[in-house]
């Protein structure tokens, strides 16, 4: 019984010492991906790229809309036979369908492109992130600002990553 007590005490001491030792070597850092996208040069270029894509899609949508509008005008203005009327209506139905599909696809493409560009920028940041983390002795870097309650200044390496990214351009 005495031996059991001594063993348990020793085990408890080991656990405490081990925990303390681990706490001393583990260092958690934080980087805010949204700030990297918004504040780094490469991030801003990616946002401009996305805006240009939006403009290009917008142009196509406007063109498709103009086709629909001109067909609509044609239907209003002209006196046509029933067959012609039906043919024009069918043509317009197809144009409207194309227009709606273009709008839907354009939105999906823009959203997908936004994700791709963010990933592209973050992949560039990632290589730097690893080097900075290694240099500063971090064993873990958190990237989700939504789950963080408090971050000490010295643990937030976002500014460092942005600065290093900018210096590579």
């Amino acid at each position: 019984m005495k031996i059991l007590k001594i063993s348990l005490t020793m085990f408890g001491i080991f656990l405490l010492l081990g925990g303390t030792a681990l706490a001393q070597t583990s260092k958690v850092g934080f980087v805010n991906p949204q700030r990297i996208i918004n504040e780094s040069k490469i991030g801003r270029i990616a946002q401009e790229d996305l805006a240009r894509l939006g403009k290009e899609k917008d142009r196509r949508v406007r063109e498709a809309l103009a086709v629909v509008e001109s067909l609509q005008e044609g239907l209003k203005a002209q006196t046509m036979s029933v067959t012609e009327q039906q043919s024009k209506e069918e043509e317009m139905r197809l144009a409207v369908r194309d227009y709606e599909r273009l709008v839907k696809n354009s939105n999906m493409e823009i959203q997908s492109e936004e994700r791709r560009l963010i990933q592209f920028v973050m992949r560039r940041a990632d290589s730097l992130l690893r080097a900075i983390a290694k240099e500063m002795g971090f064993t873990m870097i958190l990237t989700d600002p939504e789950i963080i309650g408090f971050v000490a200044d010295s643990m937030d390496i976002t500014d460092r990553v942005i600065r290093e990214l900018n210096s590579m351009m």
Binding site: F30, R60, R62, N107, A131, E135, S154
Partner: protein, 471 residues
């Protein structure tokens, strides 16, 4: 004594005028369309180059309806010094069109470089360019290229100095050009085998010089301040082009009553902006419209229109705006972390040095081009057929070997050629362009989409040039 001075001065002035007249041979003309240059007075003579619409040239020696063509500032009027021949009927006294295109690419050498008579190391050495010398290059021939003086304007093989290996050139940068303007010393010209040799200091040369093979240094012209943008309302239909050329595709047609902003006047073309655009830079323009048409077909917008521009959204159909809500608005920013630091300095962090060589080692070498189209050497990396959003797509992944970032027009022309070779009925074609230094497994730089009848859209991702020499 005074009379003698006056007489001598008058004689000197007259002599100067006579000499100037002697140098200013021939006539100045402007092309009324893109025009070919040939090495003889016949349409069957060998093609040596081309002129853009509205290009200023000096002409002389009219015979059989053909003239010898020279650079506008040429001083040698002999027929042997001509840089091509052209039919005189396309050369007008006044400029009717103006669609300028730069001759080749402005580059500089990063080491001493020989210029030879042939695109071959066995070609006779004409001259040696010192490191940092700026020249223009065009007419690529395998690993070689034709070298032109930096101030050359006419794209003719006969206008070149000689040939050099293309791998020793780097695209001219603002930095390299600025460096050149810091110390614009006169550059001695040596003569080697009777041909001028540029022996410049390390500072880089830009600006005007002589066309006859030597390179002179002058600082680049000071930028001309552009007139302020103005609000105008269209009184007639006005075509807005995608580029400052009448040959470019239509971006939009302004209808009577449409209010827009016009500005950034260049080469007789206004950049057109939507009336609520606040940042009037080239990238945000709707397109370009001819100054003469804008001046005639618009009136100054009323104050009400201007006020409206600042308080309402874009002047496009509501449905069109609805279609791309994500594009205009920046990505939503998440809620900030409660006490996360926003400042970088003053937090006691030590400065660290990151060894970037570890990243560069992972970069694969660029693919080797094996085909040529539109003056570009390229390699088709992959051709695949997929369905995206319910539509069949043929995707062509292409590596484009170039030292200069291609323009929108050149990308369009190049991609159109590939599309013509690969298009199939009812299938769309997407041409994805990669430039040197890019990871060909990652996002492409240029994305050009076609259906089976026409170009649908053209878009570039500037961000993908991160880490390359183009950004």
């Amino acid at each position: 004594m005074r009379n003698i001075t006056i007489v001598l001065t008058t004689v000197a002035c007259l002599l100067f005028l006579v000499v100037a007249q002697a140098f200013a041979f021939g006539d100045i003309r402007y092309t009324d369309r893109p025009l070919n240059l040939r090495d003889g007075r016949s349409p069957k003579a060998k093609w040596v180059g081309n002129l853009y619409a509205g290009q200023k040239v000096r002409i002389a020696h009219l015979r059989d309806g053909w003239v010898a063509v020279y650079e506008p500032n040429a001083t040698d009027g002999s027929e042997a010094a001509a840089i091509g021949f052209s039919n005189v009927k396309y050369l007008q006294k006044k400029r009717t069109r103006y669609e300028p295109k730069e001759l080749g690419e402005l580059v500089y050498t990063y080491r001493a470089l020989n210029v030879r008579t042939k695109p071959d190391v066995r070609g006779r050495k004409i001259m040696t360019l010192k490191a940092g010398t700026h020249v223009r290059i065009d007419f690529p021939d395998e690993d070689w290229t034709r070298v032109f003086p930096p101030d050359a304007t006419i794209r003719s093989n006969l206008n070149g100095i000689g040939y050099s290996s293309v791998k020793y050139f780097k695209p001219a940068t603002k930095k390299s050009l600025a460096k050149a303007t810091k110390a614009p010393k006169p550059h001695p010209v040596q003569v080697e085998d009777g041909i001028p040799v540029v022996t410049e200091p390390d500072e880089i040369v830009t600006g005007q010089g002589q066309v006859s093979g030597s390179v002179a240094a002058t600082p680049p012209p000071a930028p001309i301040p552009a007139p302020k943008p103005k609000f105008v309302t269209a009184t007639t239909s006005i075509n807005v082009h995608t580029d400052r050329t009448t040959g470019s595709s239509l971006a939009r047609t302004l209808k009577p009553g449409d209010t827009v902003q016009v500005g950034l006047l260049q080469h007789g073309w206004y950049a057109v902006f939507s009336r609520n655009e606040l940042v009037l830079v080239k990238d945000r323009a709707i397109g370009y419209a001819l100054q003469s048409i804008v001046d005639k077909g618009t009136r100054t917008a009323s104050d009400q229109s201007r006020e409206l521009a600042l308080t309402t959204g874009p002047a496009v159909p509501a449905s069109a705006v609805k279609s791309v809500p994500k594009a205009a608005a920046p990505a939503p920013r998440p809620k900030p972390v409660a006490t996360s630091a926003q400042k970088s300095s003053g937090n006691g962090q030590k400065t660290i040095t990151i060894d970037r060589s570890s990243f560069t080692k992972t970069k694969k070498p660029d693919p080797t081009p094996n085909k040529t189209a539109h003056g570009y050497k390229y390699r088709l990396l992959e051709k695949s057929e997929t369905r995206q959003l319910g539509e069949p797509w043929i995707t062509l992944k292409v590596f484009l070997s170039t030292t200069k970032k291609p323009t929108r027009d050149s990308l369009k022309d190049f991609a159109s050629t590939l599309w013509k070779e690969n298009r199939r009925v009812t299938k769309n074609v997407a041409v994805l362009i990669y430039l040197p230094g890019m990871d060909v497994e990652d996002l492409a730089y240029g994305v050009i989409k076609f259906d089976d009848k026409q170009l649908l859209e053209i878009w570039v991702r500037e961000a993908t040039l991160f880490g390359t020499r183009f950004l």
